[in-house]
Symmetry: C2
Subunit: 288 residues, 2 copies
C-alpha cells in the first residue's frame, strides 16, 4: 500500500466538494495553489465556464482528471430516450476533450427520476435492464473515443432516484456481460461512501481487478447522517475504515488517485475553499 | 396469492406506527374497534404499561402477535456484554409471555451505537462476527422458550448504528450456519422498506422458504426521503412494488400477517390514531 503520509501527490479533488465556494476556474486556481495535481469536475461546472475555457484551465494548471462526472441516467420512457442518448454521447465527448481517465456513470433509478417527465414506474428490474442496454449502446461510442466508462454503484438509499446499480456485484456482472475480455473500456468507480457497508466488498474488489478499478473515491459516513444526499463527512470524521479499503483496492494493483468527493451543505460547503482543500490534504495524509 | 381486497383479516399493526398517539393499551383498544386481529408491540411500549397489563389486554382483545420488537443489539465491548445477554434473554421471556409468533432481532451495528458506552470501533466485520456469536448464544435460550428468532436485515443506511446485517443473503447465511436443519427456531423478518432495492431479493426469498419466512413488514419508500429513520411512507405513497414482493413471499408458502410498520414523524405520527388505522386498512386492501 502506498505511503500517503509524506505528500499529497495522489490526492484528487472532486470539484463538487467546493462547488458552492467558486466556479471551476476558481477551483482550478485553488488546486494549483495547494499543489493538488488532479481533479474530477462535474458537467454543470464545465458548462458554466464553457468547455474550451475549462480545457485551457486544466492544461494551464497541468492538472490530471481522475474522472469526469458524469454520464448515465439511462432509464427513460420512449419519449425521453433520444435525449438520454444524445446527452450521454456529449458527456463522452467532453470527457475526451478534457483528457479524463474515465467517464463516471451514475446510472439512474426509476425513469421518472432518471429522466424527469418520463412516465412513473415502480419496475426496478425494468430500470436495471434499461441501464444495461444504455451502457451497452454508449460503450460503442466510448470505445471509439478511447474513453473508459466507470460504473459507480451507488448506496441502496439512492436506488429509486439516482442509481439502481447498488452493489459492486451488480456493476461487475454488467462488466462481465458487456466486456468479457476485460478490455479496460468498462469498469467501476469504487466510492467508499456507497459500498463500505457491503459484506462482499473485499471479494468484489478482488473480482474487479486492476483492469476494472478505474476510480477510487473517499469521504466518510457520519452518524447520525442528517440528509440522504448532502451530509457526507470529511475523511476521518465518520465510521468508514478507509485505510482498509484503500489497501484492498491497491492490493489489486490500483495505482491511481484517491479522489475526495464530499457533498456537505451545512459543513464543508460553508467553509472557505482554502480551508476545505487544506483539510482534504491533511486528512489524505493522515487517515486515508 | 391471497386476496386482501375483501377484508383485513391478515393485517397486523406494528404498534410503533401509532406510538405518538397513545400507549399500548389505547392502541389495543383502537385495534379492537377497527377489527384488527394482530399487532406487533415494542418493548418500551410494553414496559410503560407493564408486562402483566399488556398480556391481559392482548388476551382480552383476542389479539395475535405477528412479532415482538425487539431483541438484538449484539455488538458490545467486554464491559457491556453481560448487559446485552441479560437484555436479550428478557426479550425472549417477554415475547413468550405475550405469545408472539417470533422475536424480531435488530442485530445492532458498531458497538458504540449498539450498546452505548462501548469503546468506539470501525470494525464492521468484527461487529458482524459478534452478531453471529450473540444469535448463537440466544438461540439456545429461545429454543428452550419455544420462541423463534427472526433476524431482520436492515437497510444498508443503518449499517453503522442499527444493524450490520443488511441483506437477506447475510441473514440466511447466518441461519444456514446456526440452524442447518431449518428447525423453524431461526429465520428472517422480511421488511419491504429494508430490502426492496436488493437485486437478489426474489432469489433469497425463495432460498428462505416457508420455514424461515417468519414475518413480513410493509410500508413504502418515499422520494424524496427527508429523514433516514422517521420518514417512512404509507403503503402506496412510494416506489415499492408491494404486491410483487408479497407474491414472492406467499409463493414460498408464507401465510402470516402483513404487518404495517411506519415511523413517520411529520405525517402519520401527527394524525389521529383512528385515521391512521383506517388508512392502513384501506391501503392494505388496495395496494398491498
Amino acid at each position: 500500500m502506498r505511503d500517503f503520509s509524506a505528500d499529497h501527490r495522489w490526492l484528487s479533488i472532486n470539484t463538487a466538494t467546493v462547488r458552492k465556494q467558486g466556479d471551476l476556474l476558481q477551483i482550478i486556481e485553488a488546486c494549483d495553489r495547494h499543489g493538488i495535481r488532479a481533479i474530477s469536475p462535474w458537467r454543470d461546472q464545465v458548462a458554466t465556464v464553457g468547455l474550451d475555457a475549462a480545457v485551457r484551465a486544466v492544461r494551464g494548471a497541468d492538472l490530471q482528471l481522475s474522472g469526469y462526472c458524469r454520464g448515465g441516467m439511462f432509464p427513460a420512457d420512449a419519449a425521453h430516450r433520444a435525449e438520454m442518448r444524445d446527452d450521454n454521447r456529449r458527456a463522452v465527448d467532453e470527457a475526451a476533450a478534457l483528457g479524463a481517465v474515465c467517464l463516471v456513470l451514475v446510472v439512474g433509478g426509476l425513469p421518472q427520476y432518471s429522466r424527469p417527465g418520463s412516465a412513473p414506474s415502480k419496475d426496478l428490474a425494468g430500470a436495471r435492464a434499461q441501464v444495461e442496454d444504455g451502457i451497452a449502446e454508449l460503450l460503442d461510442c466510448a470505445r471509439n473515443a478511447g474513453m473508459p466508462l466507470a460504473i459507480e454503484p451507488l448506496h441502496p438509499m439512492y436506488a429509486a432516484d439516482r442509481a439502481c446499480v447498488n452493489t459492486m456485484t451488480q456493476a461487475l456482472d454488467i462488466c462481465d456481460r458487456l466486456d468479457p475480455d476485460r478490455s479496460g473500456a468498462l469498469g467501476v468507480a469504487v466510492d467508499a461512501y456507497h459500498v463500505w457497508w457491503d459484506p462482499d466488498l473485499q471479494a468484489q474488489i478482488r473480482r474487479a481487478g486492476k483492469e476494472r478499478l478505474l476510480a477510487f473515491h473517499v469521504c466518510d459516513w457520519l452518524v447520525p447522517t442528517t440528509d440522504l444526499l448532502l451530509d457526507r463527512g470529511m475523511m476521518g470524521d465518520g465510521v468508514i475504515d478507509l485505510p482498509q479499503m484503500r489497501g484492498w483496492v491497491e492490493d489489486c494493483g490500483f495505482a491511481g488517485y484517491s479522489e475526495v468527493e464530499i457533498f456537505s451543505a451545512n459543513t464543508w460547503w460553508e467553509r472557505p475553499m482554502d480551508e476545505v482543500l487544506s483539510t482534504c490534504i491533511e486528512r489524505h495524509r493522515s487517515v486515508v
